[in-house]
């Protein structure tokens, strides 16, 4: 299956891109996606390392790593929010 991944704020700058299309086997979870991204090494491994605070939204709803992804989803990765 194929879906969009968005990188926001500090993550976009650190990873050097704002969005991309990603392909993963059907029924992959958010955790699978994060593993696949970390496997790219370099800043991907560093920014998405287990100790880093990364928030995940799927189709604009906050979710957690166990969530299952579906074809066409919009997945967003971003740091903790700092608005207001």
């Amino acid at each position: 299956m194929r879906f969009t991944v968005l990188y926001l704020a500090r993550l976009r700058e650190a990873l050097g891109r704002g969005s991309e299309q990603v392909e993963l086997p059907a029924d992959s979870s958010v955790a699978t996606l994060l593993d696949a991204l970390r496997a790219r090494g370099g800043s991907w491994a560093a920014e998405l390392a287990a100790g880093r605070a990364v928030r995940v939204a799927v189709n604009q709803e906050m979710t957690d790593p166990a969530a299952t992804l579906r074809d066409g989803d919009e997945v967003a990765l971003f740091p903790p929010v700092t608005g207001g």
């Binding site: 604009q60 903790p80 608005g83």
Partner: protein, 157 residues
């Protein structure tokens, strides 16, 4: 259920007047304005850039406001949040709540701000003499939001 994300500044007095216009039940309006400070974490700040996640931002703000209207006996809620480039003394955010009595309006207004701070996808980048940096999330904001989780538990001050 007005929620707006915009680059333009806002006129708090006019926004509040519009929020309660024509509703003679309203006896209380609590409001909050967040403003860019010239010092943050000890460094002088000359410019601020606010990024957000269009679409999700509005959804989250509307969810927070709907939750506030469920928890407290209030009528209308308003959130106006700016994004883009700002400078010290610029207004960032306005939250206003109308109700019959002040206690409920104050609580709902403070709840919306606390939840906005930890749930709405906005990110601040500051320009300081040491360079540009993304603002780190504050644990005090998490604590402020956490005190509303159990409605039986009064917030500590």
């Amino acid at each position: 259920m007005p929620v707006r994300v915009q680059t333009e500044d806002f006129d708090a007095g006019r926004e509040i007047a519009a929020l309660r216009a024509g509703d003679a039940r309203v006896g209380a309006v609590a409001s909050f304005i967040g403003i860019v400070r010239d010092v943050n974490d000890g460094d002088r700040v000359s410019d601020l850039f606010l990024e957000h996640y269009p679409g999700m931002t509005e959804r989250e703000l509307e969810k927070i406001c709907a939750e506030a209207r469920t928890r407290w006996d209030v009528y209308e809620t308003l959130v106006v949040h700016r994004v883009g480039a700002m400078r010290p003394t610029d207004q960032i955010v306005l939250v206003a709540v109308t109700g019959t009595h002040r206690g409920e309006a104050f609580a709902a207004c403070e709840f919306i701000m606390d939840y906005l701070k930890t749930r709405a996808p906005f990110w601040k980048r500051e320009d300081t003499p040491q360079g540009s940096r993304w603002v780190e999330a504050r644990t005090t904001d998490d604590e402020a939001a956490a005190r509303w989780v159990d409605p039986q538990e009064p917030p500590s001050r």
